[in-house]
């Protein structure tokens, strides 16, 4: 999702809420921060908190609860995307909310934890949270820049799922050309050796390049190398074979485009492989953290 003007209201809202939360936190710690002699309602907990674990205070619990609620809401985006026909608001709003509310969790989590890592359990939880947030931010950055880069780098895109079939078609075309060349060689119409040169090029360069699943190491995989190689090939074969060379060049060009598109596609969506499972783990661990914390709170109240 591109971050543009349309995100401004979200940015302002999140900043406002974060500032309010920070003010509440500060006021809870130091009542003097509140202007005009105002004070927080008593149900928001003792001032200053009696417990060293700030998360256990009512205000801390409020921050934690809201953050956990946002985690759950953020996870619900996956469900929303699957249930497209449910009248649950537009998916664009959901995505924006996912993005900005999860950013809001950063101050909430910090305020909930009282800027402490706590024990090993909470430290692990914060680490997991950091992974989720970092992967999410990385995804946002990729989605902001990659579509434009992809548009400019790829002259023509194909349907991603069709790439294996299109590659197979290219290979089939090349194999057909190899058969034609072999037939020309068998008929002895070698002339100045053009069919032989083409056969060698096909066997050593073109066919391996089109066959390999990952052809990054092939010389034809590099645009500049490929241009040079085809230029030399055109010079070395007779004019009647040159249309075939042009066709070969086109196939290799198409293959390069598809490889590039595949790479882009993997970058665009690959981060989800980390983001989604870690988010799921975060929800589970946070759920357990909440249950354990509340259980402890009930058994040992302030």
């Amino acid at each position: 999702m591109r971050i543009d003007r349309s995100h401004l209201p979200w940015f302002l809202t999140v900043t406002g809420v974060a500032a309010l939360a920070a003010l509440l936190y500060a006021a809870n710690q130091h009542v003097v921060f509140l202007p005009l002699g105002l004070h927080l309602p008593s149900f928001l907990g003792p001032v200053p908190p009696a417990s060293v674990t700030y998360g256990g205070t009512p205000l801390g619990l409020l921050f934690g609860g809201v953050a956990f609620g946002i985690f759950l809401f953020a996870a619900a985006l996956g469900v929303r995307k699957k249930k497209r026909l449910w009248p649950l608001g537009s998916v664009q709003t959901w995505l924006k909310a996912h993005l900005w509310l999860t950013i809001l969790t950063v101050p909430l989590v910090f305020l909930h934890s009282g800027f402490r890592l706590g024990g090993p359990h909470t430290t692990g939880l914060v680490a997991l949270y950091a992974v989720v947030m970092a992967s999410g931010v990385f995804g946002v950055v990729l989605q902001h820049f990659l579509p434009s880069l992809m548009k400019n780098s790829l002259q023509r895109e194909v349907v991603f799922e069709q790439i294996p079939f299109l590659r197979a078609e290219l290979l089939e075309e090349a194999s057909r050309l190899r058969a034609d060349v072999a037939e020309a060689l068998a008929l002895g119409v070698d002339g100045d050796g053009s069919p032989r040169i083409l056969a060698r090029f096909l066997d050593e360069e073109c066919l391996p390049y089109l066959t390999l699943k990952s052809a990054g190491s092939c010389r034809l995989g590099n645009e500049r190398n490929a241009a040079e190689m085809f230029k030399n090939l055109r010079i070395n074969v007779r004019s009647e074979w040159r249309p075939r060379v042009a066709a070969m060049e086109n196939w290799c060009q198409s293959r390069r485009m598809m490889d590039l598109q595949t790479r882009f596609q993997h970058w665009l969506h690959g981060w989800l492989l980390l983001h989604v499972p870690s988010s799921l783990a975060l929800i589970i661990v946070t759920g357990w953290h909440a249950w354990a914390g509340l259980h402890f709170l009930v058994s040992k109240p302030f």
Partner: protein, 837 residues
């Protein structure tokens, strides 16, 4: 093989020449020259059964829909007038008179090229032999034989010996055909309905033939195995049944398939007693490439190709009562005389009766127009408003929009006008007027394919076309932007001036209207379709624009302006023009130098233009100063325009985006290629239409600036896909989107017609599916295909504003629907802001 160089050149030449010759009545070789356009003006007078009739020597060739066939240079293709044409002129005075023609035909139909294979239309011809009246030795087919000056023709109606000779021949031929091929329909339940319309059966009673007298013992019967090929009944198609034993080999189905529809599936196969029609390489119909369009079945004069009732067309609910009209009732009506009965019997609900109440609105301007109305009784009023109120949200804004409608044109129509609503029905464009019921009455609502059939009948076509022409004229004139700002009184005078002077032209796709540098002899107004205007500079096309309905073409040349005038002021140009125009007693066409075309113009699709000649244009300039001023300002603004080549505009025209009403475009700066749009589409439509999930869009297509135009229906202004649907299952919905109804038979014509590949043919698993074993242990499932296209997720028209799922499913706001012009403006302005909506 003999090398071509060894073949004596002289022999080759003689052989070629011989092909151009035939023998005349005197036995002399005569050269068969192809007719030329000047033969249209040469009249031939001949006598048919003693009645004199004068016809042109040649007529322009027409296609199956009665449209004159033009070559790439816009020239007609002449064909000789035949005796049958002359007889048609003599006997057919009104629809339904076709039965009065005393020349029976079996293999010939008015919209087909004559082949003269059945020989039932034979006539006795008398001509001049060595200056004396002499009879042709043989009876000759009237459907194919050209008319000659002074020719005398005797048909089976003639009481004399010539008539007797013809009668005998026709009778014997009919008996010979009937004894072998007059069969009941293979499906017993249909036979009762179809039997009265078996043309061979009707011919028997017409000429008093008795096939029973040709007992099988008279001729030695053929061995069953020898004619087994001709005896089979092919039930492989879910839609049609082919009984080869009932086929008279008239080739009507062959021509219907190959010439009328261009499918090239049916041909002749076998020889002698085994000769029959065949599908592809003589495969069963259901396994051939047959698209099941039904043209062959409708053309078949016997029970050789009959139908399974498949299409039940539901009448669209509207005000008043609706009742389906039976084929039997329709065929009794003179208006429908000549429409193939099988066509009317095949599909129910093509014509419905509506009882309408005074005060109700039958048609609303701007609504999709998929049907036409035949007025049976009552009085009606058509009203054209200046502009159709755009869709607006909210009661107040909608009310404001309605209250601002300005009446441009109002006229009362009665049953004497026969038909209304045919313009939208034929062109697929929205309704151009309101139709209000003034007095209780009855209308017959007909669907487009019925209107197409009616238009194939020459007598009906003439009637409908003249109504169409008159109404088109009014609409073409009222839609012109150059009339803006003209006072009402001047506007009325202007319309009255132009009306009798304007003529209409239909232009085929790609045909050139004029070339840059040609002399400007007329002004064109686009009525329907789009044109491509290209300006060449230094041997390169430097600027491309398109003009759509209401667009004016050729005004720069008509005003005598050129690129050098671009920087003159409008006042200056007008002053110099007025000086010439105001000279008294001069021929303006001679005084004002003829301008040259500043651009080349060609038709992008089917184009209909109104044409005003220079001789009529110049006095109009003198008489209407506001119009003159508008034309000058407009021309100068075009000349001042950027003449540099713009690849975006080039692409815009090249991709046909100008005609898009709802183009799905993805902003490639926002799109993360997640395919949520496609998934949303599939989920929205579910399995209802095809029994399996089907997408209506492909996230693949050409680019325009930052946008990719996805392969999905664009709801084109000119719906190419709707042309010719044999069962009228494709039409416009409430939002002018394309909707395909469930009774689609999967002929694929719409998919072939769509220039943008936006209609997909998908096997319909809901329809009868059969399994064919290809190899032992393997089966191939065969399902009838069915067309599928984007209907903006509102096929039923339940929403006020369509909400396509492809757009709402996109989480990144990359997908949206635009008109062609909106998209172009967005691309040209470089705006990719998702808040543009």
């Amino acid at each position: 093989m003999l090398p071509t160089t060894d073949f004596p050149a002289t022999l080759a030449r003689e052989d070629e020449d011989e092909g151009l010759f035939s023998r005349d009545i005197n036995g002399q070789l005569v050269r068969l020259d192809a007719p030329v356009e000047r033969d249209y003006g040469r009249n031939i007078t001949l006598q048919i059964d003693g009645q004199s009739v004068t016809v042109p020597m040649a007529e322009p060739s027409q296609d199956a829909n009665g449209n004159i066939i033009l070559d790439l240079e816009g020239r007609t293709t002449p064909r000789y007038t035949t005796i049958y044409d002359a007889a048609t002129k003599l006997y057919v005075k009104q629809p339904g008179d076709e039965v009065k023609i005393p020349i029976p035909v079996l293999c010939h139909q008015a919209h087909m090229k004559p082949v003269a294979v059945c020989r039932l239309c034979v006539v006795q011809i008398y001509g001049q032999k060595r200056g004396k009246r002499a009879a042709e030795r043989k009876l000759l087919p009237a459907c194919q034989h050209q008319v000659k000056e002074g020719m005398e023709v005797f048909t089976m109606q003639d009481a004399g010996p010539d008539g007797e000779r013809v009668r005998k021949s026709v009778k014997t031929l009919t008996e010979l055909l009937a004894v072998d091929h007059l069969k009941p329909a293979p499906r017993a339940e249909l036979d009762k309905e179809l039997a009265p319309f078996n043309e061979l059966g009707r011919l028997l009673s017409r000429c008093g033939a008795d096939p029973s007298r040709l007992k099988s013992e008279v001729f030695s019967p053929l061995q069953p195995e020898a004619i087994a090929h001709r005896q089979r009944v092919d039930t492989s198609s879910p839609v049609f049944v082919t009984d080869h034993s009932a086929c008279v080999l008239c080739d009507r189905c062959v021509r219907a398939c190959n010439e009328v529809k261009g499918n090239n599936i049916i041909g002749r196969t076998g020889k002698g007693a085994q000769a029959s029609i065949g599908f592809d390489l003589d495969e069963p119909m259901g396994e051939s490439g047959c698209v099941q369009c039904g043209e062959c079945m409708i053309s078949c004069p016997t029970s050789a190709i009959t139908f399974n009732p498949v299409a039940s067309v539901k009448p669209v609910p509207r005000q008043g009562t609706v009742e389906k009209i039976s084929a039997e009732e329709l065929l009794k009506d003179p208006l429908f005389a000549g429409v193939p009965p099988k066509f009317l019997l095949w599909q129910e609900g093509l014509v419905v009766r509506r009882k309408v109440k005074a005060g109700s609105l039958l048609v609303h301007q701007g609504d999709p127009g998929n049907t036409a109305f035949i007025l049976r009784s009552g009085r009606y009023q058509t009203t054209v408003y200046k502009s159709v109120a755009p869709d607006k949200k909210g009661f107040f804004s909608a009310w404001m929009a309605n209250s601002s409608k300005e009446v441009v044109f109002e006229v009362e129509v009665t049953p004497a006008d026969v038909i209304v609503g045919e313009m939208s029905c034929l062109s697929g464009s929205p309704r151009s007027a309101d139709l209000k019921v003034l007095e209780d009455g009855e209308v017959w609502e007909i669907r487009r394919n019925v209107l197409d059939r009616l238009m194939r009948l020459p007598s009906q076509r003439q009637k409908f076309e003249s109504a169409y022409r008159e109404r088109s004229l009014n609409l073409a004139l009222q839609s012109l932007s150059i009339f803006e700002g003209i006072p009402k009184e001047e506007y009325t005078r202007l319309i009255d001036y132009m009306r009798p002077r304007i003529s209409f032209l239909k232009i085929n796709p790609g045909q050139v209207l004029f070339n840059q540098g040609d002399s400007a002899d007329c002004l064109y107004i686009v009525r329907l379709g789009y044109t491509r205007i290209g300006i060449r500079r230094y041997e390169q096309e430097s600027r491309v624009v398109s003009r759509g309905p209401g667009g004016l073409i050729g005004e720069i040349g008509m005003l005598g302006l050129d690129a050098g005038d671009a920087y003159r002021s409008a006042e200056e140009v007008e002053r110099s023009l007025v000086e010439v125009l105001n000279q008294d007693g001069v021929d303006l066409a001679k005084v004002l130098p003829t301008g040259v075309r500043s651009a080349s113009c060609s038709a992008l699709g089917q184009l209909e233009v109104a044409r005003l000649s220079r001789e009529d244009f110049l006095p109009m300039l003198r008489a209407f100063p506001t119009l003159r001023r508008n034309l000058i300002v407009r021309s100068l603004s075009f000349l001042k325009g950027d003449n540099n080549s713009d690849p975006i505009l080039d692409n815009y025209v090249g991709q046909g985006l100008y005609e898009g009403r709802s183009i799905l475009a993805l902003n490639m700066d926002l799109c993360i290629r997640c395919d949520e749009c496609t998934k949303g589409c599939v989920e929205q439509h579910g399995t209802h239409s095809h029994g399996v999930p089907v997408t209506r869009l492909l996230r693949d297509g050409m680019r325009l600036g930052n946008f990719m135009v996805a392969t999905s229906c664009r709801s084109c202004v000119e719906a190419h896909c709707m042309v010719g649907c044999p069962v009228d299952s494709i039409h416009r919905g409430k939002h002018l989107q394309i909707v395909i109804e469930d009774h689609c038979i999967g002929c694929g014509l719409c998919a072939n017609n769509c220039p943008y590949g936006s209609i997909f043919m998908v096997p319909n698993e809901n329809a009868p599916v059969k399994a064919v074993s290809t190899q032992p242990g393997q089966t191939l499932r065969l399902a009838q295909p069915k067309a599928v296209a984007c209907d903006l997720c509102d096929a039923e028209g339940e929403k006020d504003i369509p909400e396509p799922r492809c757009v709402s499913s996109c989480p990144h706001d990359a997908a949206d629907r635009y008109t062609g012009e909106e998209l172009l403006q967005l691309v040209l302005s470089g705006n990719s802001d998702p808040n543009r909506k």
